[in-house]
């Protein structure tokens, strides 16, 4: 199988702590892959490796490869800003900029010198299923939106840069079920155009939205497979123990 993005024997240390241990994982194009596992298992650390967000932490040391369209993103000649433009990220807590709804979306396209910013804003808000709710108040502060709307605004902000891959780090953990449902519906609509990876603690969410699921434990990626198989009949006992709540 060919992958859009693929880690090969990826190791990461926070100082002396070995947080990722030889993770090899391929993400097929135009699919949603869920990363599950208990807190501290390395799934967020892993997802942050995929667009070099961990570069921002001084004590981090990384070995191994992350291939994006068959090019190692840790090669010296890689432009990290361009990389993060193509691999966007949505975080656990909505983090709109303290500016208007319009400016939140327009910020990235403007600093990248893109034209037709008005159209980009409208298209991004439409794609994030937010346009109808905010089209009459684009100049209002983004901080005035509800949590669910703020998160969709952050997704719209990511979409404005036309990425190929979107990384979601627990995007619904601070949202109510209605907002969660809207984000999941949105992910489904984006499925054909984007490769999406979601870190989630919500087993049902992983089962609902993803085609593939990978289980992490103590820094290792122990099992990956089709979501249906992982949740119905996992190969590894530790995967089964985790998803059936038998840990601890």
């Amino acid at each position: 199988m060919s992958y859009k993005i693929e880690s090969r024997n990826l190791n990461l240390w926070y100082g002396s702590t070995h947080a990722l241990k030889g993770v090899t994982l391929g993400i097929p194009e135009s699919t949603i892959t869920a990363l599950i596992g208990p807190s501290g298992c390395g799934k967020s650390t892993f997802i942050r490796c995929l667009n070099r967000m961990n570069d921002l932490i001084d004590i981090v040391r990384i070995e191994g490869e992350v291939l994006y369209d068959n090019k190692n993103i840790y090669d010296k000649d890689v432009d990290v800003v361009e990389l993060r433009k193509r691999i966007g990220m949505v975080f656990q807590k909505p983090n709109p900029f303290p500016m208007s709804i319009f400016d939140n979306i327009a910020y990235g396209p403007r600093i990248h010198g893109m034209s037709n910013v008005d159209k980009i804003v409208e298209r991004s808000l439409n794609d994030a299923a937010l346009w109808e709710e905010v089209s009459d108040r684009l100049d209002s502060p983004a901080m005035g939106l509800s949590g669910g709307q703020q998160q969709r605004l952050c997704i719209a902000r990511t979409l404005a840069m036309r990425p190929e891959v979107i990384l979601f780090d627990e995007p619904c953990s601070a949202l109510d079920p209605i907002s969660t449902s809207k984000i999941e519906g949105l992910m489904d609509e984006l499925r054909s155009e984007y490769t999406q990876i979601i870190v989630t603690h919500n087993m049902q969410q992983a089962a609902r939205v993803s085609e593939y699921t990978a289980f992490f434990l103590l820094g290792e990626m122990l099992e990956v497979g089709r979501t249906k198989e992982i949740f119905e009949n996992p190969r590894e006992k530790s995967t089964e123990d985790y998803i059936t709540g038998r840990f601890g």
């Binding site: 087993m203 949740f231 119905e232 009949n233 059936t244 709540g245 038998r246 601890g248």
Partner: protein, 219 residues
Amino acid sequence: MNPYRARYHRELDELVSDTRELANRVDMAIGESIEALKEFDSLRAREIIKMDQVVDELNLKVESRCMELLALQQPMAKDLRLIIAVIKIGIDLERIGDLAVDIARIPVQNQGMVPVKKLENLPTMAAIARDMLHEAVRAIIENNADVAREATKRDYEIDNLYVKVRDRLFAIMVENPKLVNDATALLMVNRHLERIGDHICNICESIIYMIEGVREHLN
């Protein structure tokens, strides 16, 4: 472990023990219905018909608990397979119970002019079916899918005896047309026992799915 989760796991264990209880009652119903038929004992037969209500109620209780666990606990993997298997096994056991009742109705509604003693293969079919059911229960207790696989192999014996009993009954009817009514009733018993064998095969398939997560068609 979280006390809610511990209770959930206890409830899963109880589902299994309730299913075993259901299987035991159905097993008893098969045995009793054949005994009542052999002796043409309508009083004994009426008891079996009455007891079927207990089987139905127990099955409903198991089904309701499954629904509750599905709704409240969002079971996954082997827990999910267990609940699905228990629901399916319950449906098959309930049907077997109904077939035992249908057998028990024969001594209540017929005259017994064709003695079952002349048709030893009918009780043999029932005995094989009960053995298969015992093995299915053992497969659950020992969590061993191979025991369930092995149990299904005996369904061929029931199928072979079914053909022999059918042919024998046809011969009896040809020899003495006055016996057509009772012989036809026994043809139905023959058919019910054959169907019981099939339902036990279904139960074994559910047990294999529950234990190994694979779907096999063994009937």
